[in-house]
């Protein structure tokens, strides 16, 4: 596929931009944060998104979805970054949808995919267990019991865990029955089940992530997801998918932080001239522009790879996440620095971009993690 957006993809991007310009943005995020009972997402925005069909984009038509491409959904995630939209689209419409889509047909899949498509359910993925990202370290245990299974363990950093109706849980099962291939297992659980405790934390970017504890949670057969592929492959693909979409979001964050900065350079006067006339700032801005152009290319390439189910998804995902993470650090740090004092104020926007950039980077591995991954996957 060509590294140019199709007409349809361009249209989706422009629509998303227009819609989120009106319905999201740092001012709304600040309001969301400062309300009496912050819940970590905008319900109104999420409903409007559902009306536009965004949560249904990746859902197959047979389950009421639009069956669009990852490249198309990636355009939306990029605009989510541009406008700091705060909804469960990533956790539910992308991660949960991807896992459920790949699972074999069962009661839960049949019930939940259409609900996702309609925006009527919120699902969080519970994966990480430590504060450093180490996806291989899964100690949450699924043990056989007299009348089914018991789940025990702790998950951290569960994005949107506090607002989710359902949880997808990655665990290790101790007895390999016919239902679970390999060592890993994926469960889909009602978040209100007995034995599940969810503790919410507000993140620096005003979203919510949770610590989820499973204490002898009784698991039924239906709640165990089964796949054509091995669960290891499903997990690997989930991680790559997550990181490619986060790269798109980080690209959007960088673009907007950069745009705000360039605007400021053209507006702010010091020493009797616009500060954008200072060559040292010009060169830093030009270099950063070049870096953002590079990010655009790798993000688009990675999204296309997802659509083509190509062999190097994992590698491209790490390349994209490493690059966009690093550049989003530069773009937001330069954003603060070039704005000077005003960049440090909560009243201005740059802090919100800085914070979102770090949270989106930290989810599913920061640039240090993915630099190492990229090296390994490149044969270094």
């Amino acid at each position: 596929m060509s590294l140019v957006l199709s007409e349809e993809e361009t249209m989706i991007r422009d629509t998303a931009n227009d819609f989120l310009s009106e319905n999201a943005g740092p001012d709304m995020l600040r309001k969301l944060r400062d309300q009496d009972d912050p819940c970590g997402y905008s319900k109104v925005l999420w409903e409007k998104m559902a009306d536009l069909g965004w949560p249904s984009l990746l859902i197959p038509e047979e389950f009421g979805g639009l069956d669009f491409s990852h490249t198309a959904m990636g355009q939306i995630m990029q605009q989510v970054g541009v406008h700091l939209a705060t909804t469960p689209l990533f956790s539910t419409g992308i991660l949960a949808a991807e896992v459920l889509k790949k699972s074999k047909v069962n009661k839960n899949k049949e019930k939940l995919l259409p609900l996702i498509a309609e925006g009527k359910v919120k699902i969080a993925v519970a994966l990480e267990e430590g504060s450093r990202y180490e996806p291989a370290v899964i100690n949450t245990r699924l043990d056989s019991s007299s009348n089914g299974y018991l789940l025990n363990g702790n998950k951290r950093n569960v994005l949107d865990g506090g607002l989710a109706d359902y949880l997808i849980v990655v665990c290790r099962h101790t007895s390999k029955g016919e239902h679970i291939q390999g060592d890993l297992g994926f469960l889909i659980l009602d978040a209100n089940k007995t034995g599940i405790e969810i503790k919410n934390n507000m993140l620096i970017d005003s979203r919510m992530a949770s610590i989820v504890t499973f204490n002898n949670v009784e698991i039924l057969e239906d709640e165990i997801l089964k796949f054509e592929q091995t669960p290891e492959l499903i997990l690997e693909n989930l991680l790559s998918t997550a990181n490619i979409y986060l790269s798109a979001e980080l690209l959007g964050v960088s673009q907007k932080a950069f745009e705000l900065t360039i605007e400021y350079l053209k507006t702010r006067t010091q020493f009797g001239v616009k500060i954008g006339s200072f060559q040292a700032l010009q060169h830093r801005a030009s270099h950063l522009w070049a870096e953002i152009e590079l990010c655009k290319s790798i993000v688009l390439k990675a999204l296309r790879a997802l659509d083509q189910n190509s062999d190097d998804i994992a590698k491209l995902s790490s390349f994209a996440k490493a690059k966009t993470s690093k550049i989003s650090e530069v773009a937001t740090n330069e954003g603060i620095q070039m704005h000077g004092g005003i960049g440090m104020t909560d009243e201005f926007y740059m802090g919100f971009y800085l914070k979102r950039a770090r949270v989106a980077q930290m989810l599913f591995g920061d640039w240090k993690y993915h630099t190492d991954q990229a090296a390994t996957l490149s044969g270094y």
Partner: protein, 384 residues
């Protein structure tokens, strides 16, 4: 030399007796003693420690005794610093009084100003704030527009200041104002002192991205300032301002270089995996050592520069130390955030992320990194 040795011995034994043990423990931001008209002491020991030190004049050891100091020579002051550091003693009083405007008054102020302000400062009885930046003059400080009209025995000041640290808690402000608009922008500035309770002075806290509000906007609406509260000559305030800026740069260059409760390395070893005595996260390890190398080099440069100033009296490096030190401190906090991973993304009760956010201002306040690089280019390299 022998004199200094017995001097050191005396200081050591006095400190042993008089420095409360609670004042020898590591200190958080909230434990800083800032004094003032309505002082808030975190503990009785804090109050006792300030009292004992200021009675000896050791809160401002190099100031003359008549102004509340101890009249120490540089060597003596150094010994006092060393002995205090040896027992990890906390500073009895901190703030912009003793560290900033005090030395400026000593250098440029009238006898009357010295008597009025210095002893109270040394006792920690007055809390000071700085009125420098304005909304339209940040890097271009000399472009300031706050206007002071001269009525002979007093000035009437109108304008707005911004980034006033602890402006809402301060008792007095030292403030740059424009007393002459008909001359070059550097030539019509004066430095004035006024009580924050003077009618017409009001402050409004600025909320920062780190969630705190240590800075204020300060509005000056027909504020009357006695003509005797001008430091140095009228219209010649830029000289005093530059003196203070150099001073501020030197302080900011040391940011994050003081030993802290827990070093970056300790954070790293606690949070990251270690295998065969080696961090398993190799990319992080590389970033960490890059920082460690630069950090040590910067520390040694401060030491070298201070030694050179002491031995040759030459010193033109405050801009470089401010630039490099604050950039290093930002790098340090990026590393700490990364070390703590997703934990550092929590907003509540999380000093790691709050300090990281706060550190972003280091390369802006007290003259941006860009201004420091300009200063180096022009004054040291002779470019321009």
């Amino acid at each position: 030399m022998n004199n200094l040795n017995s001097f050191r011995k005396d200081i050591r034994s006095w400190l042993a007796e008089n420095c409360p043990h609670a004042m020898r423990t590591p200190m958080l931001e909230k434990d800083i003693c800032r004094g003032g008209r309505n002082p808030v002491f975190q503990s009785e020991e804090q109050q006792i420690w300030l009292k004992r030190m200021s009675e000896k004049g050791w809160t401002a050891p190099t100031w003359p005794v008549e102004y509340g100091g101890a009249g120490f020579s540089k060597d003596q002051a150094k010994i006092l610093r060393e002995e205090l550091s040896l027992i990890n003693a906390r500073p009895p009083i901190s703030g912009m009084g003793i560290s900033m405007i005090g030395p400026a008054i000593l250098e440029f102020g009238s006898e009357k100003l010295k008597q009025q302000h210095l002893p109270a400062m040394a006792k920690g009885e007055v809390r000071w704030c700085q009125g420098y930046s304005e909304p339209n003059s940040g890097s271009d400080l000399a472009g300031l527009q706050t206007k002071a009209e001269n009525f002979g025995d007093h000035l009437i000041v109108n304008g707005q200041k911004v980034w006033t640290s602890y402006g809402d808690d301060a008792d007095w402000m030292f403030c740059l104002v424009r007393t002459n608009s008909d001359v070059g922008k550097h030539s019509g500035i004066s430095l004035v002192l006024f009580d924050m309770e003077t009618p017409g002075v009001s402050t409004k806290p600025i909320k920062l991205i780190s969630g705190t509000s240590v800075f204020c906007e300060t509005y000056l609406d027909n504020v009357r300032v006695d003509i005797e509260q001008v430091v140095g000559d009228i219209d010649a305030g830029w000289t005093v301002a530059k003196y203070l800026l150099t001073h501020e740069r030197e302080m900011l260059g040391k940011l994050g270089t003081a030993p802290t409760e827990k070093s970056v390395k300790e954070h790293a070893l606690d949070c990251l995996g270690v295998c065969n005595d080696r961090l398993t996260d190799e990319v992080m390890r590389k970033e960490l050592i890059d920082w460690e190398i630069d950090y040590l080099c910067h520390q040694l440069t401060m030491e070298r520069v201070n030694a050179e100033i002491a031995s040759n009296g030459v010193g033109n490096t405050s801009a470089m130390l401010k630039y490099y030190g604050t950039e290093l401190n930002k790098r340090k906090h990026e590393l700490l955030v990364s070390i703590h991973g997703s934990d550092s993304m929590h907003w509540e009760n999380n000093p790691i992320s709050r300090q990281w956010l706060r550190s972003k201002g280091n390369s802006i306040e007290g003259g941006t990194s860009e201004i420091q690089l300009n200063i180096i280019s022009k004054r040291i390299l002779g470019l321009g």
